[in-house]
Amino acid sequence: MAAQTLAEAAVIEGNYAVAFPFFGAERRGAPVLAFTRIDSKKIYSKTQVYAPDCVVVLDDSLLDTIDVVAGLKPEGTVVINSKEEPDDIDLGVSVRTAAVDATSVALEILKAPITNTAILGAFAKTTGIVRLDSLEDAIGTRFGEKLGKKTGERNALAARTAFERTVTGRSRGVKKLEPKKQWLPTYQELPAGGALIEGKTEAGLIGPGSFIENKVMGWATFRPLRDKEKCTMCLLCWFYCPEGTIVRISDRGDLMTNYDYCKGCGVCANECPVDAIKMLRARV
């Protein structure tokens, strides 16, 4: 939706623009990609963007797992949703970088950690490809049409606030991101029918139960904190937790919270009958 809104802002200014997402998982929280092409001439290219002028990162936890600057032109720009100063962000290459704490902006204004409109404000300030007023117009119409005029206005305000708070600098280029190891067997090595038993490869566990190595804490904006004094051990949070974040240890008659798997849904806090669980901002 952010990519489309950006394209619309460019069209308002009399340019041509194309926006489209990368088709993949429909699930929430999974890393996704979207592209926008802007030009003063008609655009005939329909492929994905492989050498972008600007990369916008909506979640800085991705920096640890994905090479976000892959293909970026040397004179290109990176816009990141991060609490850190741009000069402290390590991207593996030194490029012009802008940072804004869009999550805080979104929580203040939209009361939800939805950062796509706020980050567009940062994009407008850093690149100057679109003006803030046309961006606000585009957000107002696109979000206003779908979600009501008030929501449109609030999203435009989020973009303006992020515009004002954006800091620009140059990223550090120290980090070497090692590509994630993958298990790539040939078809002769695969068991018949693709039937896998529990096993270990150089890339980690495979087969039944191997998802345990998949840490998903990067999804969480909030995470639960349990007050042991108040807790009555009714085990409802353990029963309801869809992730297995809350681990029960019967021998000790206790519960443990494993934040590696918490996606921050907040069901446990909402359902606790004695209000012993509070949701706090993760990664502060």
């Binding site: 039944p208 998802f211 190595e213 969480a220 297995g244």
Partner: protein, 319 residues
Amino acid sequence: MKIRDLPDDDLFTAGHTACPGCGVAMSIRNAIRILGKDTAVYVPSSCAAVFGTSFPYGAWKVPFFHTAFENTGACLTGMQAAFEMKGKRVTAVGFAGDGGTYDIGLQSMSGAAERNDDVIYICLDNEAYMNTGIQRSGGTPFGAWTTTTPVGKRIQGNRSFKKNLGDIVIAHEIPYYATLSIGHPLDFIKKVEKAKDIKGFRFLHMFTPCIPGWKMDPAKTVEVTRLAVESGMWTLYEVENGEKRITYKPGKMKRVKDYLIIQGRFRHMNEDDIKKLQMWVCRKWNLHYKEKGTPEICEIELPEEHHAVTEEHREMHGP
């Protein structure tokens, strides 16, 4: 069995990739906890197949099998027959979505039910095809927004009512059919346990909220299932050898509006549509709880004609 009697170990491990607050993940985690490790699972194409496994990784610690969308019933039959031939005491369990049960898998499920094969069929009903990006299914309620029932100027949201799958399944005269909701843990545990011990075709119908599809706050997953039961949109009952028993009756009927208001998929609904849905709910409430007359909440009289045929429906498809 109570919550504290459930085993510590997870047979569906952490690290799966479901959305935060997923009702399906909650339901399958607890169902497999109760069913135990002597279980083999079949999942057709659905969210559960995608977030629970992605080759070569998987969250299931029990044997897991996946082929096509429409054959949950047939695959379960085959698995059970194979275990029997090998002399193994293993329960074959299928977790199909509402698309894979109400529409695409109906024939296969019906076949397995008719043969009374000794398997457990679990329908995870999130009221649309959520995995492919929220398209209408036979389980989608009246008025709900989906990408194939969009909100336009003239027609807003889904125009047909939720299919009564329960009665279709019960008509096969199977030994056990039950509806479950994750918001009622003791009822949930009791029914899964009961299904585990019965022989023959057992059908568990689970109500599983979908956060992106229902456009709601992930923290409200459990709350919304309770509201559904209290408003009459979902009823908790079981049918054992043809005998129906209500397992949980809410005290006073809540307005269907209270259920609709916390979900974005119903946000566009106008008063007329809400009334229509309320009438449908009142009729269902009376049928299930055998109350005489209409609950006070239905302020208008019930029409004589068949409830599923609405005016718009007639305009679109003719009389």
